[in-house]
Amino acid sequence: MIDKFVTSVAEALEGVPDAATLLLGGFGAVGQANHLIEGLLETGVANLTIVANNAGYGEVGLARLLKEGRVRKLICSYPRIAGSTIFEELYGAGKLELELVPQGTLAERMRAAGAGIPAFYTPTAAGTQLAADKETRAFDGVPHVMEHALSGDVALVEAWCADRWGNLTYRRAGRNFNPVCATAARLTIAQTQTVAELGEMDPETIVTPGIFVDRVVHLPYGDPQD
């Protein structure tokens, strides 16, 4: 019987290696797999590359990983937000490498990785300093930037409901990057607030089919705090 549920964060994170590239779902405080992210501190991994839209909030989740020096490089669109003081300190001190990617390009690069598309062209950032070192090409006379797929060793996502096949749904704005990250990593780990018996989830409304999910841990922690 297929059963992707594991019983602890430690079990969920088993085998996540040093220097891994991690894709983190979440936008703002909503849809962040903070329990899994903080669980990485226990496993001792370091030298991580983190792909996420933001650089973390307050002192939870990604902000804690940063503070404890586990992150070598951050690939994100919007690190500088209210409450991202830890990021600013580390970046200012030259202790953190940053690759700044427009938000839509960040999402599309992960989508491409999940869809077996190694590269695509986008008009976003053409002619700006974020495309300064990138290959460009005109289509219908409009300049476009070639962007490469961005895949992860591990994706950490937060779901609202899951079943033992790993089918997932999300909650409102908690969907955000989570379904995209889930498709783009070799190992996708979800924390879920609720659990359904197989067949209870409506097949019309599953957002992430279980084919993209390897492990699920049930963590009914409640509403996001900000």
């Binding site: 937000i81 599309e108 992960m110 509403d223």
Partner: protein, 218 residues
């Protein structure tokens, strides 16, 4: 002494909202643009998009109805109108990049007379820069409007010949709403559609780096 009164931020937003027809799909940037949602004339249905995966964004919730799972791209708590929908980030930016938004309204540091936009970084060596969805919106929406103060706090014009700050997009801004005027970006440069009462073109030109002319039909 001037004969005119500058619009405040809410008034700029209201002036933008006047020009948004029913049925448009609209994304609002952070700052003055966010205020536009609250000033759409009653009964006019405009559908607001938030790039974190919402269509049909409604007003801020009453304090006792706050839903912590409902935020917009500025991380503010919002509501969702009947008819709203959720989707993921790749689909959200497919809407943006794929020219499905009728309009986005963005804040800016500078706009050039050629429609270039600078709104994401104050210098090319900005510490801890952040771009978010600005470049995607500024290239992807069918129309890009800017809502901002006409000059900086120290009085430096923001409507310029050529942007000094790093570009967000080139040639995409079509209209600018400021505290003093509404200015179109045309193939011949800036064209003033209207000004606050009492303002003259000469007054406005004094506060604008690039040449202004009156629009042929405003």
């Amino acid at each position: 002494m001037s004969n005119w009164t500058a619009r405040d931020r809410a008034e700029i937003a209201r002036r933008v909202a006047q020009d948004i027809p029913e049925g448009w799909y609209v994304n609002l940037g952070i700052g003055i643009p966010t205020l536009v949602a609250d000033t759409v004339p009653a009964g006019r249905e405009v559908i607001f998009h938030a790039e974190n995966g919402l269509l049909g964004v409604g007003p801020a919730p009453a304090p006792d109805e706050l839903d912590r799972w409902l935020i917009n791209a500025g991380k503010q708590h919002v509501t969702l109108l009947p008819g709203g929908a959720f989707f993921h980030h790749a689909d959200s930016f497919a809407m943006i990049r794929g020219r499905h938004l009728d309009l986005c309204v963005l804040g800016a540091y500078e706009v050039s007379s050629g429609g270039d936009l600078a709104n994401w970084a104050r210098s090319s060596t900005d510490t801890a820069p952040a771009v978010g969805g600005a470049m995607d919106l500024a290239i992807g929406a069918r129309r890009v409007w800017v809502a901002m103060e006409h000059v900086t706090r120290s009085g430096v014009p923001r409507l310029v010949e050529s942007c000094g700050y790093p570009l967000t997009s080139a040639g995409r801004v079509k209209r600018i709403y400021t505290d003093l005027a509404v200015v179109d970006v045309t193939p011949e440069g800036f064209a003033v559609r209207d000004m606050v009462e009492g303002m003259t073109l000469a007054d406005l030109q004094d506060r604008t780096e690039a040449p202004l002319r009156m629009a042929e039909e405003a």
